[in-house]
């Protein structure tokens, strides 16, 4: 399988009243066609911004993005709009991502109208019905409005809309975080089924470790705008190479009876990456931090085959 998306050195900075915010600071990743890459981290780690920068919904400050052999950052105007048929996004908040003045059918039809997919109204309607069927929405809701629906159904609309143009790649930005667990499971199953049926590629952005493990083939862990660890999903949960990943996984409260030992607690809190000083960004909270950690940015290096880590003391502390 070949990589459908390659990102190299992606940066996205924001100007804030307190200084330059390095939301994404040198992100590189590849996603294999038909696979799911999970991107996980706590709030403020830049994962959402990264997802949007890849689709150029937030204009990247630097870096290169290659999608399906094309240079995404070189595209402008019509070309960019054309490219967006192939790359779509599902948003976190099913409340604010749907235009409240549009009916369900209109919401799903909108991308098809924009790209003039169907000349005849009947064809358009058929396609909308087909999409509603795909995401298991009943036809009864055809003329309803988003505010009449619950979160799960709204998220199904978001998915149907993303699927309308037959994209190859979808950025899923916390698609289930706002949902109750029983509905969350329904949506996760739906997304997995769709991936198999339509051979979709997902970039799955989330803060929920168990969800990311469930759905991803590979995972990147982000901390303050940078990738700290990258590994196949199963392997990552067996053993973590970066002290942050270790702490993150240890902190998850497990619902397994008998596993109620005290979790290892990470001291301190996340600072926002405003004009960061050089050196490992995790160092202030890291129990293993030494002087060397604050001297230079650690590189993301392949410590073991297929497993990358950005920690200069990774070998020592293992």
């Amino acid at each position: 399988m070949s990589d459908i998306l390659s990102v190299r050195g992606l940066k996205k900075y924001f100007n804030t009243p307190h200084g330059m915010l390095h939301a994404v600071d040198g992100l590189s990743l590849d996603i294999e066609e038909g696979s799911t890459l999970g991107m996980v981290g706590e709030s403020g780690c830049g994962k959402t911004t990264a997802g949007r920068a890849i689709l150029r919904l937030a204009e990247p400050s630097a870096g290169t993005i290659t999608f399906d052999g094309e240079d995404v950052l070189a595209k402008t105007g019509k070309d960019l709009r054309k490219l967006r048929e192939k790359m779509q996004i599902i948003f976190q908040d099913p409340y604010s991502s749907l235009n409240p003045r549009m009916s369900i059918s209109r919401l799903i039809a909108e991308p098809l109208i924009i790209h003039r997919r169907y000349a005849r109204k009947a064809d358009l309607e058929n396609r909308v019905k087909e999409l509603m069927d795909t995401v298991e929405l009943t036809m009864r809701l055809y003329n309803s409005y988003p505010h009449e629906l619950d979160g799960g159904r709204r998220q199904r609309i978001g998915i149907a809309r993303a699927l309308a143009l037959d994209p190859k790649f979808i950025v899923c930005d916390e698609p289930v975080s706002a949902l109750d667990v029983s509905v969350q499971a329904q949506i996760l199953n739906l997304m997995q089924d769709l991936q198999e049926r339509l051979s979709l590629t997902y970039l799955f952005v989330t803060h929920d470790m168990s969800v990311v493990r469930h759905i991803s083939d590979k995972i990147v862990v982000m901390y303050l705008g940078q990738v700290v660890e990258k590994a196949p999903s199963d392997v990552l949960f067996e053993e973590q190479l970066h002290p942050y990943t270790k702490a993150l996984i240890a902190a998850i409260p497990s619902p397994m009876p008998g596993s109620m030992e005290k979790p290892k607690i990470l001291k301190g809190e996340l600072k926002s990456p405003i004009e960061p000083k050089p050196g490992c960004r995790f160092a202030p909270r890291c129990v293993h931090a030494r002087k060397v950690c604050t001297e230079a940015d650690p590189d993301l290096r392949e410590l073991r085959p297929g497993r990358f880590v950005a920690c200069c003391r990774a070998e020592e502390i293992l």
């Binding site: 949007r52 689709l55 919904l57 960019l80 709009r81 054309k82 967006r84 048929e85 779509q88 996004i89 948003f91 908040d93 604010s96 991502s97 749907l98 235009n99 409240p100 003045r101 009916s103 909108e110 991308p111 924009i114 790209h115 003329n143 409005y145 505010h147 978001g158 809309r161 143009l165």
Partner: protein, 298 residues
């Protein structure tokens, strides 16, 4: 499509109706509109502007001989007569026409021009925004009536200048409002979703942004009509608006001022007319605010 629109309106109406005062306001405006439209049928313009001096200060609900279009007839002064013996009720009804027109025209002008400027500033930002917003700041720095006063004082009192003065002074409010509203809506995820689908800027503004920022503009416009009517009456009261003998509530009050002791009715009724119209628009504005508030929708 039509049926859907109807559904949305029905839902809006259901929410609006909950505020009983707002319904009263709507009924009041309806009444004024009907009176203004039928003003000529009830009282001819010549009659209410022509002098009937012998009947000056006829009391409320009194009868008197009047000359109307060359014939002499008995006339009921429902709300009495003023210093020239003109029918106060007739002048109020004809004045309603003037006030309603002023309110509507000035606000339509301000909403269209100010709104467009605000939308452009809000969506494109940068230098264009800076220029537009500085302009609005300057206009806002001169208090409303004062500015209108200065404009009419400079250009001379006439109906057209009055409209212009009030129109210009109400502009900056809509510039700021629409800009703020566009900026909020612009950052909504559904706008981002539209961009992700490949929609053009034009389509995003027209289909996704404008319809979603109309609510505050509609509310403000309703209150703005009240404000315009009040400004017009104030300017006329100072002698800078509609000139007598044309009937206008403000200039009626200005004339009546001298007869506060002898003929208080000439002072009371035009004032009540202004008050009820403004009250009605305020009530409607409150009702619209509640009915259009997205927070209450869910």
């Amino acid at each position: 499509m039509e049926q859907k629109y109807k559904g949305e309106f029905a839902e809006f109406w259901k929410r609006y109706r909950r505020n009983r005062l707002a319904v009263v306001g709507l009924a009041l405006i309806g009444l004024y509109v009907i009176l203004a439209l039928g003003a000529d049928l009830l009282y001819s313009y010549d009659f209410i502007t022509g002098n009937q001096i012998p009947n000056a200060f006829s009391g409320i609900a009194s009868f008197a001989e009047v000359e109307d279009g060359g014939t002499v007839r008995r006339h009921l002064y429902l709300l009495g007569a003023d210093n020239f013996g003109r029918d106060v009720a007739g002048r109020i009804i004809h004045g309603a026409r003037v006030s309603l027109i002023i309110g509507f025209v000035t606000v339509a002008f301000a909403v269209v021009i100010g709104g467009s400027l605000g939308a452009v500033a809000g969506y494109y930002g940068r230098r264009l925004e800076t220029v537009i917003m500085r302009g609005a700041d300057i206009l806002l720095a001169i208090p409303n009536i004062l500015f209108a006063l200065a404009i009419v004082a400079a250009l001379g009192p006439s109906f057209r200048n009055l409209l212009l003065a009030i129109g210009i002074t109400s502009l900056p409010v809509y510039v700021r409002l629409v800009r703020a509203s566009v900026m909020t809506v612009k950052d909504q995820e559904y706008v981002e979703a539209a961009r992700a689908q490949g929609a053009s800027d034009f389509r995003i503004i027209l289909i996704h942004i404008i319809p979603n920022c109309m609510a505050p503009v509609i509310v403000q416009a309703t209150l703005g009509i009240a404000q315009s009517i009040l400004s017009a009456a104030s300017l006329s009261f100072l002698g800078l608006g509609i000139q007598p003998p044309s009937p206008e509530w403000g200039n009626m009050l200005s004339e009546a001022r001298s007869y506060i002791i002898s003929a208080p009715h000439t002072l009371i009724f035009p004032g009540l007319a202004i008050m009820t119209v403004i009250l009605a628009y305020n009530l409607i504005g409150d009702g619209l605010r509640d009915a259009l508030d997205p927070k209450l929708k869910r």
